[in-house]
């Protein structure tokens, strides 16, 4: 007992030239958002591993694996074609209804999946949160990025449909990356709110399926946005998913683009939701380990 370890002269094997100032300062506050985002970037490899883990586990546990990414939107498109395209005869801007529905469902599935998965993301990682530090924003971000893979798989069917209906693609195709980015930002903006709220109020998890359903019908997926009464249009623009879905159809099918003003409003709503969501999350983040 009592072997004393005299600090002996040592040879450093770690980085020798540490900066003079502390690399991390820990205080009661949550720190600057910008600094937090810089740090999130430094941890980006962890984000990659988290997304990779989710995909791997998800597909390992299912028999059909990645096929689910196709089956869901495809089955929905078939049902909507029968109900709304054939029975109700909803006008679809002169586009074959299956194509019309599927291209609406494509961005919607990404959005809905991200929302559903990220709501519980913080709470289900309780153990991890209490044992190790990493940028907490990664938890709601992971399902959003994971949804991109499903989106890519589902896109294969979209390409097949476009070929089958012999659609001639135009210059709108160039806007597609921007539109995909828009869905991701929009999905993350809402997800980050839900994930943070769910930490405080566990009922959020139960409210989300309902929210997704309402949001689905508020978005022109099974119907065309030209059916929306003119006096309601300004309100409709508040739903960024509406502009995004219309944008997808415009880019691939050449249907009319929403009014520039509506696009601006949608972008504004998305960015406001994002900024507010990140700020709220960062406020809740400080207390997460004490709450969950």
């Amino acid at each position: 007992m009592g072997v004393e370890m005299q600090p002996e002269p040592v040879v450093s094997t770690g980085p020798a030239d540490l900066p003079a100032g502390p690399s991390t300062v820990i205080t009661a506050g949550s720190g600057r958002t910008l600094a937090g985002l810089c740090e999130a970037w430094q941890y980006r490899e962890l984000l990659y591993f988290l997304v990779w883990r989710d995909l791997k586990v998800r597909y390992k546990q299912t028999v059909l694996g990645a096929l689910w990414a196709v089956i869901q939107p495809l089955a929905s498109a078939v049902i909507f074609t029968v109900v709304f395209g054939m029975f109700v005869k909803v006008p679809s801007e002169g586009v074959p209804y299956p194509l019309f529905a599927y291209l609406g469902l494509l961005p919607w599935q990404l959005f809905a999946f991200a929302l559903t998965e990220s709501t519980a993301s913080v709470v289900v990682h309780e153990r991890l949160l209490k044992k190790v530090y990493f940028p907490r924003l990664y938890l709601p971000l992971t399902p959003v990025l994971g949804a991109v893979v499903d989106f890519a798989v589902a896109s294969v069917v979209a390409v097949a449909l476009l070929l089958a209906y012999r659609v001639r693609l135009g210059a709108g195709l160039l806007a597609l990356p921007l539109l995909i980015a828009a869905v991701l930002v929009c999905a993350f903006a809402v997800s980050v709110w839900l994930a943070a709220l769910n930490v405080k109020y566990r009922d959020v998890r139960y409210a989300v399926p309902f929210l997704v359903q309402v949001w689905f019908f508020a978005t022109p997926i099974v119907y065309s946005s030209s059916l929306i009464p003119a006096h309601l249009r300004p309100w409709w623009a508040l739903n960024p998913m509406g502009s995004i879905v219309d944008g997808f159809r415009w880019a691939l099918l050449g249907t009319p683009l929403p009014q520039p003003l509506a696009l601006l409003v949608s972008a504004g709503v998305t960015l406001t939701l994002l900024a507010g969501g990140v700020a709220y999350f960062r406020r809740v983040e400080v207390t997460i380990a004490d709450l969950v």
């Binding site: 600090p7 540490l18 506050g29 586990v57 949160l129 566990r202 709450l291």
Partner: protein, 423 residues
């Protein structure tokens, strides 16, 4: 020269927890219930009684190349301190500055996913602990070699034995090379050989000019590897300095509070947990002053929250250095633990005179093959009083923490020549 350069400086760290309903998450129903009061601005402020100061004005500094040990009773604030330094939670007041990357080992196997293979988990766990991908790739062979599980690398870890799982988890953790390492009690797992390997690894870390903050209940290990030791008591720094002196102070501070009784620190929530434990005599009647001449034992009360497929109740008795001396479980003697929801009382009696007249504490756990359900370490410290018995008959005092009558015999006399030294 690296010693003398700062790695961590903490200045007046405080942490307050709010107990009771105001601290935990709310369901919407509860939120709606308090809404009218909130709207009227009459929401009850968390009152003083619901506050718990886990840390009060803790200040210290750790230099590079130093291993600082942190010891203290349960609830003294050790874990909270580590959580603040590893940025899992934030201090209520005060500030800490850190020079360099911080690696924290508050638990081994954090983020392991049962469905993933050993190989996949090495990468995932490494990334979670803060290693870079290139770093993990570089150390991969060393990690696998350390864990000694080569042939199971492509098997999902859910099929691993708990020993293999732990070895792999620890192997990843042991190869974490950050400038600052925070270690909490991870040495409690694994066999002796493995613990030795890990302690050795920690000494390497400190020779490498990094700084280590080591929280442990194992006082022997703390004395061995630490260059300085901090004793925390009720959230404050009680002593800071030379390890053997720190351990001595810590041990003398335990003497006062031997009630022979322990209650779960949090309110009962209806889940599966240990509720209470107390020292008892042979009939199960509370007796806080056991001696080595009379049979005594421990009564443990626990609750089962939902029907379980399996439940193991385990108890380890630790010596005053908080090193486990032996462990016992009802299943050792074929006694089944009830699995139906309900609250139960169990009693375990030690063989008479088995525990020497020394200080002991307990580790009590509820677990099954899939998960740990509740565990409390180094609770209910107690002292066994000396009475005249075989165990205390040796005038110079006896070695060891336990006493057992063993079957001794002089089985014969050897012929003269066989005792001669071999030339």
């Amino acid at each position: 020269m690296i010693v003398g350069e700062l790695a961590i400086r903490a200045d007046g760290l405080c942490k307050r927890y709010l107990m009771g309903s105001s601290a935990s998450y709310l369901s919407l129903r509860e939120s709606l219930a308090v809404l009218p009061r909130r709207l009227l601005g009459r929401e009850a402020r968390p009152d003083r009684q619901n506050e718990l100061w886990a840390l009060r004005e803790v200040s210290f500094a750790v230099g590079r190349g130093e291993v600082l040990g942190v010891i203290g009773h349960n609830g003294a604030g050790k874990s909270t301190l580590l959580k603040i330094l590893s940025r899992i939670t934030r201090p209520t007041a005060g500030r800490a500055e850190v020079w360099g990357r911080v690696g924290s080992l508050l638990e081994v196997g954090t983020g392991f996913h049962p469905e993933l293979t050993g190989r996949e988990n090495v990468f995932l766990n490494g990334a979670i602990l803060g290693m870079r991908r290139a770093e993990i790739e570089r150390k991969y062979d060393a990690i696998v070699g350390f864990a000694e599980i080569d042939q199971f690398l492509d098997t999902p870890v859910k099929h691993y034995s708990s020993g293999m799982y732990m070895r792999l988890a620890f192997a990843v953790a042991a190869h974490l090379e950050t400038e600052i390492l925070l270690v909490d009690e991870v040495l409690a797992v694994g066999d002796a050989e493995f613990q030795k390997k890990c302690l050795g690894k920690m000494e390497d870390v400190h020779r490498g000019g990094r700084a280590v903050l080591f929280v442990s209940h194992n006082l022997a290990a703390v004395e061995r590897v630490c260059s300085r030791v901090m004793v925390l008591d009720h959230g404050g720094v009680r002593f800071m300095g030379e390890p053997s002196e720190a351990v001595r102070r810590y041990l003398t501070s335990t003497e006062g509070a031997l009630t022979g009784e322990w209650h779960h620190p949090e309110p009962f929530t209806g889940r599966t947990q240990i509720l209470r434990a107390f020292l008892c005599d042979a009939n199960g009647v509370p007796n806080g002053n056991p001696d080595c001449g009379t049979t005594f034992g421990v009564v443990i009360e626990f609750s089962v929250g939902e029907r379980l497929r399996e439940l193991i109740l385990g108890m380890a008795v630790c010596n005053q250095y908080q090193v486990p001396v032996f462990s016992t479980s009802p299943s050792d003697v074929g006694v089944a633990v009830p699995l139906e929801p309900g609250t139960y009382r169990t009693k375990v009696l030690f063989p008479r005179g088995f525990l020497m007249p020394k200080g002991f504490s307990l580790i009590i756990s509820l677990y099954n093959r899939w998960q740990g359900l509740d565990s409390h370490s180094h609770i209910m410290p107690f002292k066994v009083h000396a009475v005249d018995s075989v165990a205390t008959a040796t005038p110079t005092g006896r070695l060891g923490d336990v006493f057992a009558e063993c079957a001794w015999d002089v089985i014969g006399r050897l012929p003269e020549k066989s005792t001669r030294p071999v030339s």
